[in-house]
């Protein structure tokens, strides 16, 4: 069941390097290739980047696809921790890694070891499966959106078929719980009594608080003061679930920095529960792994429904957890197209957006090398989106890698387009998507006219929009009053 976490893929396609110093010995790039070639080459050369001092000079061996499949459960290459356990460097090409204060390094290695253990632990997996089924409410439906499909039919009556993966129907109202419950169980297993997490829109906070309540763990959630105002219903919910909510000046990026600092100070007693696929290794891999239940279910459901695979996958991208959750299962399926949709906010040229992959540059942030929104000094820019959960200046290193290798495509959608999509889906399907997911749904407007008849499009409806009803209402009111 588990994907090989330690497998790091280095393509033989062109790597974009903004500065020469980015181009480490571990990266190989010769000339542009078509996406299909890239995938083929990339599947065929699986390289684990090992950065320990001695082995860097020896270079990294290449492992074939067969070996990849057969060794899915064990890392091909590794460093050894003090206790002789195997850990990897957590690189996706040049992205990822562990750029954190030295104090955290050992903790991260130990976390990775524990994580590998649970992936192979049948008892843990069985408990997790039960929790996902009975507590979270999985499997979530793969829902055929008839009226949306009709909406995208052209004048000749042809168009793609739109399916929504209903992560909004999870307990808590978003996909966040998939990861939160799994990591909380992991934390409990390793004996931690208290969990610390940061949340943007509050969905991860709610999910974590819920999981902690269920497992009897103490819970502290850091949330940006601006976000607390915008998503106040989630704040109240977290408190009801027993969490201590600590306000941090600013928004999610500031809350996340503070959560990491708190973690550094309480390494032995508390567990930092990352909500999204960013941060130092193994956090991005852990989150992706626990979210990849979305993609696995989708494959199974697609087979049941139409006897095939999805043709196009669409997901919104804040930091990447729901996108990777849907995409990861299909990475090696060359015929499955992947589209991530970021927040263009008030427009890409306005400077008020959160489109990291569209407008960011590669740098190091919150422990990982990835694309990020930074100014000319390398200071981090505060982003904006009406989808609060999309507001993050960084992005998952794995998504950065998928962008560079052209395995996935990334586009953007403005606040206005997201609001329009929210209303459209409400009216056409009686489903109220979160504003974050509305970004993915908004992109259908641009995508569908270009798709052949019968293309199967699966959109990850990553959350439900109760929390956003007031925001949308206010936005529309303000628009109407401006027009008057």
């Amino acid at each position: 069941m588990a994907c090989n976490l330690q497998t790091v893929f280095i393509p033989r396609g062109k790597l974009l390097a903004p500065t020469e110093t980015m181009f480490s010995r571990r990266s190989i790039g010769f000339g542009l290739q078509s996406p299909a070639e890239s995938i083929a080459a990339w599947s065929a050369s699986v390289v684990c980047a090992v950065a320990s001092h001695e082995t860097m000079t020896r270079g990294a061996p290449v492992v074939g696809l067969d070996t990849l499949i057969n060794t899915r459960r064990s890392p091909p290459l590794h460093e050894r921790t003090e206790k002789g356990k195997e850990v990897s460097t957590g690189k996706f090409g040049r992205f990822g890694g562990k750029y954190v204060p030295e104090t955290l390094m050992t903790c991260l290695s130990e976390l990775e070891v524990e994580f590998n253990l649970v992936l192979h632990d049948a008892k843990f997996q069985a408990e997790l499966a039960t929790a996902l089924k009975d507590y979270v409410g999985r499997e979530t439906p793969l829902y055929f959106a008839q009226r949306l499909t009709n909406h995208y039919r052209n004048s000749n009556g042809v168009g793609p078929e739109i399916y929504l993966k209903r992560e909004d129907l999870n307990h808590g109202g978003a996909h966040k719980i998939n990861n939160a419950i799994a990591q909380a169980m992991l934390a409990k297993r390793i004996g931690r009594k208290s969990i610390v997490a940061a949340t943007g829109a509050g969905q991860h906070g709610v999910a974590t608080a819920a999981a902690c309540a269920k497992l009897g763990l103490e819970c502290t959630i850091f949330m940006g003061s601006l976000d607390m105002e915008r998503q106040s219903s989630n704040v109240i919910l977290m408190k009801h679930l027993g969490a201590q909510v600590k306000s941090v000046d600013g928004n999610f990026k500031d809350a996340n920095s503070e959560a990491i600092r708190d973690w550094v100070g309480n390494l032995e007693t508390s567990y930092y529960l990352s909500g999204t696929a960013v941060g130092p290794h193994p956090c991005p891999s852990m989150v992706r792994e626990f979210q990849s239940v979305i993609g696995r279910e989708t494959r199974k459901q697609a087979m049941e429904k139409w006897g095939g695979k999805p043709d196009v996958l669409v997901a919104c991208v804040g930091s990447g957890s729901n996108a990777l959750g849907l995409f990861h299962e299909f990475l090696r399926d060359e015929d499955v197209r992947m589209i991530g949709v970021e927040a263009a906010g008030l427009g890409l040229d306005s400077g008020r957006h959160s489109a990291t992959l569209a407008r960011g540059e590669v740098g190091v942030y919150h422990g990982a090398m990835s694309y990020l929104l930074q100014d000319e000094e390398g200071q981090i820019i505060g982003p904006h989106s009406i989808g609060v959960g999309l507001e993050y200046p960084g992005v998952s290193p794995e998504l950065s890698f998928l962008k560079d290798t052209k395995r996935a495509e990334f586009y953007t959608v403005t606040d206005q387009e997201a609001i329009d999509a929210f209303q459209r889906v409400c009216r056409l399907e009686g489903i109220f998507p979160a504003l974050e997911a509305s970004h993915a749904l908004a992109f259908l407007e641009k995508l569908c006219p270009n798709l052949p008849n019968g293309t199967k499009v699966v959109v990850n409806c990553s959350g439900r929009g109760d929390k956003d009803a007031a925001t949308v209402f206010k936005y529309i009111q303000e628009q109407d009053s401006q027009m008057d």
Binding site: T19, T21, M22, S24, A51, S52, H53, M56, T81, E82, T89, G97, K98, Y99, V100, P101, E102, T103, L104, M105, T106, C107, K253, D254, S257, I260, R261, V264, G265, N266, L267, E268, E361, V362, G363, V364, Y365, H366, G367, L372, Q374, E376, E377, G378, Q379, I380
Partner: protein
């Protein structure tokens, strides 16, 4: 930024010490600082050519322990930083760590975070800091080590960053969010430009890893005294004593202890335990940043620094 600080609030005894730049007497040294004063030192070849390791070598010969203060550049403003550097130098600091303010300092507690925020709000940026250093470094007798997070270095380009800082006379660099595994690029460029890249080891670092770190560290080894971010603490953990012993078994390089050191008692304790240097950050940053006025801050800085240095052998 104009150097508008008037130096009327602290003592101004001009001494011949300005000429004895290479071997400054540790006891009283005072410098005059007036905004339009172009110090005669500029005409001497007075750029401190002594690096971090050499400073420690000299101090060891003299049986002394290094005092290494840390301040954030640009808090409350760059001209005060310039004066603070001079004050710290004249009070007898052996090395000064100068922090480059960053929007998301993961390793820093509230005091240094606030300092960075204030500095950035006042418009401090890398170029302005370099300009300030260009003027001030020739007036200092002790070497400067820059303290910067990795992203701003990457953004400027590692090679360019190293050249730029070398050109203004910086001797060392500390980057708190780059683990040993990722330091290769930094170390390569640092060695080329003869900048000493100081690495950090912590109470959570296992022995084998600690050995690799101290092997690779240059200038000195930065021992983080506690598990957490920067910020003053009530006492220095006893673990530091054991950690110091372990490190000294692994290397003969000098070890300086930082994070949480804020009182003469701490300084004394660390000296007894065998530290080769003590690093004081938040306590000093707080003084400067929260003072009623820059002048007040500099005055308090002088008093505080002297009290700490007097606890050293």
């Amino acid at each position: 930024m104009a150097l508008t600080l008037k130096a009327t609030c602290f003592m101004q005894l001009k001494k011949k010490s300005q000429e004895n730049l290479l071997l400054p007497p540790i006891s009283q040294r005072f410098t005059t600082s007036i905004k339009t004063f172009k110090p005669p030192m500029a005409t001497l070849s007075s750029v401190s050519t002594v690096g971090l390791s050499e400073t420690f070598t000299r101090l060891k010969r003299q049986g002394k322990v290094a005092f290494i203060p840390y301040i954030t550049a640009g808090d409350p403003d760059l001209s005060t930083t310039a004066e603070a550097l001079k004050v710290l130098d004249s009070c007898g600091s052996d090395i000064i760590e100068l922090g480059v303010p960053y929007s998301d300092p993961l390793a820093d507690g509230p005091v240094i975070q606030a300092a960075a925020t204030r500095a950035l709000a006042r418009g401090a940026n890398f170029n302005k800091i370099i300009l300030m250093l260009k003027e001030v470094v020739p007036q200092l007798s002790c070497p400067i080590a820059l303290f910067s997070y990795y992203n701003p270095i990457l953004k400027h380009g590692v090679e360019k960053f190293m050249s730029t800082v070398k050109n203004v006379g910086v001797h060392g660099l500390v980057v708190p969010d780059v683990p040993l595994e990722e330091t290769e690029i930094l170390r390569k460029e640092a060695v080329k430009k003869k900048i000493e890249l100081v690495l950090l080891t912590t109470p959570t670092t296992p022995t084998n890893r600690m050995k690799a770190i101290v092997e690779a560290s240059e200038g000195y080894v930065y021992l983080v005294s506690s598990v957490g971010v920067t910020g003053t603490r009530g006492f220095v953990s006893e673990r530091v004593q054991t950690l110091l012993q372990d490190i000294k078994e692994a290397t003969s390089k000098p070890v300086a202890v930082g994070f949480g050191i804020s009182k003469p008692e701490h300084v004394k304790q660390l000296t007894e335990w065998g530290a080769d240097g003590v690093i004081v950050g938040s306590a000093i940053v707080k003084l400067l940043g929260e003072a009623k006025s820059p002048e007040e801050g500099l005055k308090e800085l002088e008093i505080f620094t002297k009290s700490l240095i007097s606890a050293l052998p």
